[in-house]
């Protein structure tokens, strides 16, 4: 009762201000800022408490209908606006499942009252023509610091308006940035902080940067191989993070060979490279290993994981055709745009036409759309199945429309387009209209897959290029510019926005040639830094001031163990001598790979597998067959060297070179010679086995660094 009186009193003083309030552009932001149309409240697909609003106000017509006309108009009481359910509920006068969402003297409550008083009109349709946030980028010096966020919007019918109070700000890291009700952002931690601003359908990331140190650093004289270094150094100097010295030649060689071919460099190529004094030896080396079969094998495996390639029960032929096709495309250096078009449009006998298997990896049109979104756009469209994507621009119409593009596909052995098949749009419960997501409906009766393929590989959008270069970056640097790499969206901005754009441009300009992009990365100085930490860059894990250590992927590790020991693995059902990276089918039995954490169909393969390096894999390395059987094998490298009467020193040198791609320094050689020498032949043998075992379990071996 008390509340009602206050509200009434408050109304009296505002009676004169009864201006026409616009529903679409002024009332919906009230709902959004108060959280009414969030996914957990009335924005849920089924609404809440019998009241449904479109998620984050995406559908103004429906919302107007729901607010003004539904429930026989009881949500609005024009005679006594304060009695309107629309106000009495969120202000807590009447019982409200969502507690008090609006204070009764808040600007939001006042605006609702004004709007109802003026007749609850929908108002003129007006378009947002200009939208500006200050600051959109902020560079401070100290913490804590308060930054006032301000937003100006201009519609096509009038003057710029301050809409700061009607904009929702969300800090990506709420522990580092706290935003109060006055839209003051308090930054309490140094580094790159991101705040997402949302007003109507606009979503803008704001970058708030505070350098890690109080002292400026000068990186202007640092060598730059290409634009990658320009962009990386720009942010490092902004954040005042000093860089580590360059990696040694042997470290660089090991790193780049592992990253590009999934193998350790062999002793012969190490020797050739180290003896080469030409200043172009690094580009030449990169080019030479990119034309190797090892490169083709490794990248076939990497792409196959992204495509979720796997065999079907009792049908290996389709899978074989698919993986052979992929490998051949990679081998001949086809542009990835050509690969994309084939994947999206192929038809025919899937035992012969490899890319026709793309749509056979999943069960239906919706999953087809999700896989296409994942692979070609680096996006998770799944949320938009049941409601508009809460963090992105995708609507249910986009999702179901995109799925409808693939609805007529017959997914048996013969992949073909039939005349029947539809997807129900869960929003309308009508058959979905085929649609290019975020763009336009497709009309007629054509095979719309061609329209989608054309759109994805044209200049119209950058999704494919961005998603691809981001994944290539991840493969080379151990972290995506956007993380996770399958979640590109406006509300999840990259650490280096300009770099991502320039990489995407460069990739497109070079005919979607991923070898070109990999080469740019491999030759950059950012890639060539050592992993040696200095105090001021110790905690950096995303700005590339030093090289990041990464565990070798399971397949690469298993092959590396085989290469060092000289004994190939045996895999059930595979030809003798096959390398683990050539086992493309995640369902092919390979227990060692499973224990070491290979990506299987059940896992999200974009994600870095954290299970590697855990106790289970450690036990396997310690007691399992993977290493032990190879060490004791009489045909293995160690026993052959012993048999050939090689000295301790020769054995130490050889295994250092194989495992670490470098020779032991004098101290290391002395150390091991002392520890390993033994007059008893069998004792010496077991010591040497233990020595090689420890090399294969050392961090220097298990990691790419």
């Amino acid at each position: 009762m008390m509340k009602l009186l206050i509200l009434t009193g408050l109304l009296a003083s505002h009676v004169e201000m009864a201006l026409a309030v616009n529903f679409d552009t002024e009332i919906i932001p009230v709902f959004t800022t108060a959280g009414c149309n969030a996914g957990a409240c009335h924005g849920a697909a089924a609404g809440r408490g019998g009241f449904h609003l479109s998620l984050l106000g995406a559908n103004a017509s429906n919302d107007y209908e729901a607010v003004v006309h539904e429930l026989e108009g009881r949500r609005i009481n024009q005679t006594h606006p304060e009695h309107s359910l629309l106000l009495a509920k969120p202000t807590g006068i009447l019982d409200h499942g969502g507690d008090v969402a609006l204070d009764d003297d808040s600007p939001g409550a006042k605006r609702l009252v004004e709007w109802i008083r003026s007749g609850a009109p929908r108002g003129e349709q007006r378009k947002l023509t200009h939208f500006e946030i200050t600051p959109e980028r902020y560079l401070g010096t100290e913490v804590p610091v308060d930054v006032r966020l301000q937003v100006t919007a201009r519609f096509d019918d009038g003057e710029p308006e301050d809409v700061t109070g009607w904009t929702v700000f969300t800090a990506a890291d709420p522990i580092a940035v706290d935003i109060d009700s006055q839209r003051m952002a308090r930054i309490t931690r140094r580094g790159q902080q991101v705040v997402i601003a949302r007003f109507l359908n606009r979503v803008v990331p704001i970058q708030l940067n505070i350098p890690f140190s109080e002292n400026p650093i000068d990186l202007s004289g640092e060598p730059r191989a290409n634009f990658i270094d320009d962009e990386v150094l720009k942010i490092l100097s902004e954040l005042r993070i000093p860089i580590s010295p360059p990696a040694t030649d042997s470290d660089w060689l090991r790193r780049v060979t592992l990253d590009l071919t999934g193998r350790l460099p062999d002793p012969a190529s190490i020797e050739t490279f180290m003896a080469d004094q030409d200043r172009d030896r690094r580009p030449r080396y990169v080019e030479s290993i990119m034309s190797n079969e090892a490169f083709n094998d490794y990248w076939t495996l990497r792409f196959s994981k992204l495509l979720r390639m796997h065999s079907q029960p009792n049908d290996k032929d389709g899978f074989n055709a698919y993986s052979e096709w992929l490998r051949e495309e990679i081998r001949k250096g086809a542009g990835l745009d050509q690969l994309a078009i084939q994947l999206l449009t192929a038809e025919g006998d899937s035992h012969i036409v490899g890319p026709a298997n793309f749509g056979r990896m999943i069960n239906d049109a919706r999953e087809h759309a999700e896989l296409a979104g994942h692979f070609f756009m680096g996006m998770r469209l799944g949320c938009a199945n049941c409601h508009n994507h809460p963090l992105d621009r995708w609507t249910q119409d986009d999702y179901h429309g995109f799925a409808a593009v693939f609805a007529r596909l017959e997914r048996g052995r013969i992949v073909s387009l039939t005349s029947r098949g539809a997807v129900t749009n869960l929003r309308t419960n009508e058959p979905a209209v085929p649609r290019i997501p975020g763009e336009r409906d497709l009309s007629g009766n054509a095979d719309f897959r061609h329209d989608v393929a054309h759109w994805l590989t044209s200049n119209e959008n950058r999704y494919f290029a961005r998603a691809t270069v981001n994944r290539l970056w991840y493969a080379m640097f151990g972290r995506g510019l956007v993380e996770p790499t399958d979640d590109l969206r406006e509300t999840n901005p990259p650490t280096h926005p300009e770099l991502l754009e320039r990489l995407a441009d460069d990739f497109v300009d070079h005919g979607y040639d991923f070898r070109h992009t990999l080469k740019q990365m491999a030759l950059s100085n950012a890639y060539g830094r050592s992993g040696q930490l200095i105090d001021e860059n110790r905690s950096d894990d995303r700005f590339y001031s030093h090289a990041y250590r990464r565990l070798l992927p399971p397949e690469v590790l298993v092959d590396a163990i085989a290469d060092v020991t000289g004994i190939a693995d045996r895999f059930d059902g595979q030809v003798t001598g096959i390398r683990a990276v050539a086992i493309v089918d995640p369902l092919a039995p390979a227990p060692s790979l499973d224990i070491l954490g290979r990506c299987t169909k059940a896992k999200e393969c974009d994600e870095n597998s954290n299970t590697a390096g855990g106790l289970s894999s450690q036990l396997h390395l310690l007691n399992g067959e993977l290493i032990n059987r190879k060490l004791t094998d009489k045909e293995g490298r160690l026993h052959q060297m012993i048999h050939d009467s090689k000295s301790d020193e020769q054995i130490i040198r050889q295994f250092y070179l194989l495992a670490f791609s470098r020779m032991p320094i004098t101290e290391e050689l002395h150390h091991w010679s002392n520890r390993l020498s033994d007059s008893d032949a069998s004792e010496r043998r077991s010591k040497l086995e233990d020595f090689v075992w420890s090399l294969l379990n050392s961090r220097a071996f298990l990691e790419n660094h």
Binding site: D541, G614, N623
Partner: protein, 445 residues
């Protein structure tokens, strides 16, 4: 109201004063009930309410079990909601559960059933993370799950791994804490006669003397690499943990199910889930702080009767998901109780969400996070109670909504971990164990 810091303190201990009490105390203060009295009251509460749980067994029902077929039946709802099964009475007056949980019905006096769990996340991966961490998934940070947090904070060096998962974990558990807090996966199937933990025994020809030598050699190599990178060596590496595990006979015995009498083994049922529960009991008995048992298949989009009750078509005795759960779960609870372990072992059975109130056209139910059930027992949780309720058709919480965040706050409190305690990311950033969750006081005794 009292100052906010005090407010925080109230929630630190389970048996502390509830918010309702505080309102009362607050008003008494105005009438002269002094702060001193208040502190005394709180001290009393604390001495009674020490968290009792030393260990935790998490039975993870992966895929999202139907609340409407297990712990929250709606016999009076319309046909398309109530589903194929009937409720039965239990050993607690007024509590009814599914007829397929007849053995569980005899231990209900030890269970606390939360029927008003609610979450906005209906996708497996996201919901999984939310339920197991108490944090909604974020692109900035991967939050750690209960087991990883507990083993991170519980610095109890022991031969047995502090965190075991049977048989495998489906998701990354350690988040920003890093892979050394991943659970140890046993692999294999504990119901098989030849079940053995993978790679626990020495490789033939490699004795403990050689294992010791390998350990020394490895330490030499790793210290060289650490000095090259100017890093510190990790204090307790994965290798050191593995070394302790394989060199002890105690660990081998802990995992040896054949050591159990036949009667005990059959009590848990012959299925993998039951024998996994038995293995979990053996492990907590030997002081393992956290054991999770993975039970998959609960994503029942079709054929509820076949999947939940029968197990295969034409089954005379149901061996589907619910009877299998019933056998293993009830045996675990009663066995722990008989051994005097239940009071110090928190048992949690839950999945990532519930199922849609309306049956779909395939006789199944789809994802439904808005309301679902979770069951807790032991570890000081008062049994024989139902907390919260769902509405008439099991669509939304009717009262006492409990978010996964609230549940996480409560679980940590029960485990004696201060929810406000800060953890640190690799770059030194503090992140509280739980943020913003409310204590479900009824679970705390």
């Amino acid at each position: 109201m009292a100052n906010p810091n005090m407010h925080t303190q109230f929630h630190r201990r389970c048996n502390a004063i509830s918010r309702r009490d505080m309102v009362r105390v607050g008003s008494l203060t105005a009438l002269g009930f002094g702060l001193v009295d208040w502190y005394r009251l709180q001290a009393q509460a604390e001495s009674q309410g020490r968290p009792r749980a030393k260990s935790c067994i998490l039975l993870w029902l992966d895929g999202g079990p139907s609340h409407l077929e297990t712990f929250d039946l709606k016999p009076d709802a319309p046909l398309e909601v109530r589903g194929p099964f009937q409720p039965i009475t239990t050993n607690v007056n007024g509590i009814q559960i599914s007829e397929l949980l007849s053995k569980t019905a005899t231990v209900c006096d030890k269970l606390a059933i939360v029927r008003s769990m609610t979450s906005p996340l209906g996708e497996h991966g996201l919901a999984n993370q939310y339920l197991l961490t108490g944090y909604k998934p974020s692109p900035v940070l991967q939050y750690p799950q209960f087991g990883s947090v507990m083993t991170h904070l519980r610095n109890a060096p022991s031969v047995l791994p502090p965190y075991v998962t049977i048989p495998e974990n489906r998701t990354t558990s350690s988040g920003f804490l890093g892979s050394s807090f991943e659970p140890f996966a046993t692999g294999g199937d504990p119901s098989k006669p030849d079940f053995q933990v993978r790679d626990l025994d020495f490789f033939p020809g490699v004795d403990s003397k050689r294992i010791q030598r390998r350990r020394e050699f490895l330490a030499d190599l790793d210290s060289v690499q650490a000095s090259i990178e100017s890093r510190n060596l990790p204090s307790d590496s994965a290798f050191e943990k593995a070394y302790r595990l394989v060199t002890s006979s105690e660990s081998k015995k802990a995992f040896d199910l054949s050591d159990e009498p036949a009667a005990v083994r059959s009590r848990y049922g012959s299925k993998m889930f039951g024998q996994s529960c038995l293995l979990a009991r053996r492990l907590v008995e030997r002081g393992v702080p956290f054991v999770s048992v993975m039970n998959t298949g609960w994503d029942t989009h079709e054929s509820l009767v076949l999947k939940l009750r029968d197990g295969y078509s034409g089954a005379k005795v149901g061996v589907g998901l619910i009877p299998t759960f019933d056998q293993g779960f009830s045996a675990l609870i009663s066995d722990l109780a008989e051994r005097g372990l239940l009071d110090e072992t928190l048992v949690i059975a839950m999945g990532e969400f519930g199922r849609t109130p309306k049956l779909n056209t395939r006789g199944g139910r789809d994802h439904w996070p808005r309301v679902f059930s979770a069951v807790l027992a032991g570890g000081g949780v008062p049994g024989g109670q139902v907390i919260g309720s769902s509405d008439r058709v099991g669509e939304s919480p009717h009262d006492y909504p409990v978010s996964p965040n609230d549940l996480a706050h409560t679980i940590y409190t029960l485990l004696g971990i201060d929810p406000h305690r800060e953890l640190y990311t690799t770059d030194g950033r503090p992140v509280p164990v739980n943020q913003g969750g409310k204590l479900v006081r009824e679970l705390c005794g």
